[in-house]
């Protein structure tokens, strides 16, 4: 294997995170091209975990930015805490110099990632939760990897381009200009073989028979037509955990799936499945 190959093939999953071949490839392309990686997929397919494990396998620290419906792009860079400054100017803040604006500037997650002295992994989680315009407001910063703090005139420039992982729940169209700058991967629901590997990572001591039974039931359940929300990988792992804690032997269970509540999360689905079980 040449040097270039080694450099390219940096991410191979970790001992606790099994990535499909396609996903590994996408991650390595993103790292090699120094572009943000946009990951989409059904909830519970391990999008967020990907960033954590990528950071671990590259030996870099991870900065997380969990986006909420009220998050503004500027908050990710820095927040100027005016209220604290007002308060200090009125009541005297422990002898601090109120005239020093920099004291009231707090870097946000993106700001921190850019100001970090070495390369970091930045996770922008669930970018689609925020307002429609949110991704557009990040374009310049993600492109140039620099920004300016207007209040102090300080220019923050990334020493090394951070590895950016962005997750989205496939809910909303992201703006084209934003998409153009990203490398995209859609996490497919794992096949049975991959799922076996994944479960084994989380439950190393599970026996083949138990695992087989569990997967049989799980994929059978996912194949139920008209389910509002299909159970995901993370739910399968929780379910197996519950089964093992309660010492349930699936091969002897009759009349419905035990701990159905860990797999199905809407009344409609539970009703549907129990009706089909009776029929």
């Amino acid at each position: 294997m040449s040097d270039a190959d080694q450099q390219f093939d940096q991410f191979r999953g970790t001992s606790s995170y099994i990535a499909s071949e396609e996903l590994r490839h996408a991650v390595n392309v993103a790292v090699a091209l120094a572009r943000p990686l946009l990951v989409r997929g059904e909830p519970g397919t391990g999008k967020t975990l990907l960033a954590e494990n990528l950071a671990r396998s590259l030996g870099l620290s991870l900065i997380r930015w969990h986006v909420k419906s009220t998050t503004k792009a500027k908050d990710g860079l820095y927040v100027y805490d005016t209220v604290a400054r007002l308060h200090d100017s009125r009541f005297g803040g422990d002898g601090h110099d109120v005239r020093d604006i920099a004291r009231y500037i707090k870097l946000g997650p993106l700001g921190e990632a850019l100001a970090a002295p070495s390369r970091v992994v930045l996770l922008i989680d669930e970018i689609d939760k925020a307002d429609i315009e949110f991704p557009n407001d990040l374009l310049l910063e993600l492109d140039a990897m620099r920004f300016r703090i207007d209040e102090t005139g300080r220019e923050v420039v990334a020493a090394e381009r951070p590895v950016v992982v962005i997750t989205s729940n496939n809910e909303k169209e992201l703006p084209d200009a934003f998409l153009r700058r990203c490398v995209f991967h859609y996490i497919q629901f794992p096949t049975r073989e991959l799922m076996t590997e994944i479960v084994r990572v989380h439950h190393p001591d599970i026996t083949d028979r138990v695992l087989d039974n569990a997967l049989e039931m799980f994929f059978g359940l996912r194949a139920t037509p008209k389910l509002r929300k299909k159970p995901s990988t993370s739910e399968l792992i929780d379910w197996i955990c519950a089964l093992r804690k309660a010492n349930v032997d699936l091969s002897r269970v009759s009349g419905g799936i035990p701990f159905l509540g860990t797999l199905l999360k809407t009344e409609h689905d539970v009703e549907l499945v129990s009706k089909r079980a009776k029929a």
Binding site: A4, E22, A32, L33, R35, T82, E173, R180, R181
Partner: protein
């Protein structure tokens, strides 16, 4: 040569920009495609396609462009030649099969393969003719023809096989519509304004007031921004709408979500709107259209959902309602016109596939209301129209109905 592929992609409506194409070239220069077609398939998709809804179009373009390349690459390789020539591998065959093998020489096989490939339109499993999996045709993978040739497959999954499977078909935007997606489409239907209780800190105003107050903190609150759009939804139920009931109920679920619109009202009608609409789907609690109009602001958005399919008389004849007791002098189209005239912006969503529209009463109704198909694209377009106005899509030739419509 790949520039053609770029245009193939763009022709399939995958919006690939020069920016992305340059990135792809850069990536290929770095060798990220691992010098293989499979590698290229994934690399190109990763960089150029940013939407799962477009994966299927990408697969299509990939298939169209690389079909011949693939056939060439297969090239009935030396391995196949050797395999066919190597008698040891053939030991397991019966005399009959050997006979068959002798009958089918390589040139003929290749010819046949390419011919079949051209003829074949879809995926095929089993059977004895087409290229596919299983079966006893000489072409395909995991089959049992002794002289056959493998197309795709092999160790791992080849890009052609993956593209050929078109696993992403169900993600196409013009087909799927679940509540969440409708939700997202409806999110565009908004006009924000500050109204209601003051519960948000207004920082600028606070700083301003505090300064004016000689540094004594004076905190100012303001109401949060809310959607001010008001919506009236009229839904056709029963009869020909039964097959679409699930879809309409999803739309209703998404639209009626609390806090979505400043005001949301929904009514039912059957077939066409006549003098009344109904609060319930059983048509017991009637609301005269006149009352509805009187109680609706002209700025409210009117959205109708229905297949707009009926006997022309039901729409055009005065008293054409299929219910005797609602017989009135005004025709269905007249009632619809009244609705359209009252509301400044309105839209009709039709669950019937667009190809069935021409030549039906849909044409007539589409001349009164802007009509869009009840798909994700149609919904998004209608929302844009409701918020910003613009051109209404033209449906068929309503002019042929002009005489019957009385003008």
């Amino acid at each position: 040569m790949l520039v053609d592929f770029l245009f193939e992609l763009r022709a399939k409506k995958v919006p690939v920009s020069t920016h992305e194409w340059m990135a792809l070239m850069e990536a290929m220069a770095l060798g990220l495609h691992e010098s293989s077609l499979d590698g290229f398939y994934h690399l190109c998709r990763t960089i150029c396609v940013k939407d799962i809804a477009l994966y299927d179009a990408y697969d299509e373009a990939f298939l169209a462009y690389f079909k011949d390349v693939h056939a060439d690459a297969l090239k009935l390789t030396e391995a196949l030649r050797a395999w066919l020539a190597d008698p040891r591998v053939l030991e397991g065959l019966t005399e009959e099969q050997r006979q068959a093998l002798r009958e089918l020489d390589l040139e003929k096989l290749r010819e046949l393969f390419e011919k079949r490939l051209r003829e074949q339109k879809e995926r095929h499993d089993g059977g004895n003719r087409w290229i596919g999996t299983g079966g006893t045709s000489p072409f395909g993978t995991r089959g049992t023809n002794p002289t056959g040739m493998r197309a795709g497959g092999g160790g791992g999954r080849s890009a052609m096989a993956v593209a050929d499977e078109r696993r992403f078909k169900e993600y196409r935007r013009d087909i799927v519509l679940d509540v969440r997606q409708i939700d997202m489409a409806l999110r565009g239907l908004r006009r924000l304004g500050r109204e209601g209780a003051q519960e948000e800190l207004d920082l600028d105003e606070t700083v301003d007031k505090t300064c004016k107050n000689a540094g004594d903190i004076d905190i100012v609150f303001r109401p949060p921004r809310r959607n001010r759009v008001k919506v009236v939804l009229l839904m056709d139920v029963g009869g020909s709408m039964d097959p679409h009931a699930e879809l309409v109920s999803r739309l209703f679920t998404a639209a009626s979500r609390t806090g979505r619109f400043a005001k949301f009202r929904s009514y039912y009608f059957h077939n066409c709107v006549y003098n009344s609409v109904y609060e319930d789907a059983e048509f017991r609690k009637g609301v005269p259209v006149a009352d509805l109009l009187a109680n609706s602001d002209r700025d409210e958005k009117l959205v109708l959902v229905g297949d707009a399919l009926m006997h022309p008389a039901e729409l055009l004849d005065p008293g054409g309602s299929m219910y005797l007791y609602t017989q009135q002098r005004a025709s269905g189209i007249e009632w619809l016109r009244r609705l359209a005239a009252h509301f400044r912006s309105s839209a009709w969503l039709n669950p019937e596939p667009e190809r069935f529209w021409p030549g039906t009463t849909i044409e007539v109704i589409a001349s009164v209301f802007g009509m869009w198909p009840l798909t994700l694209d149609g919904l998004a377009a209608s929302v844009r129209y409701l918020v910003r106005g613009g051109e209404r899509p033209k449906v068929g030739e309503p002019s042929k109905w002009a005489k019957a419509m009385g003008g």
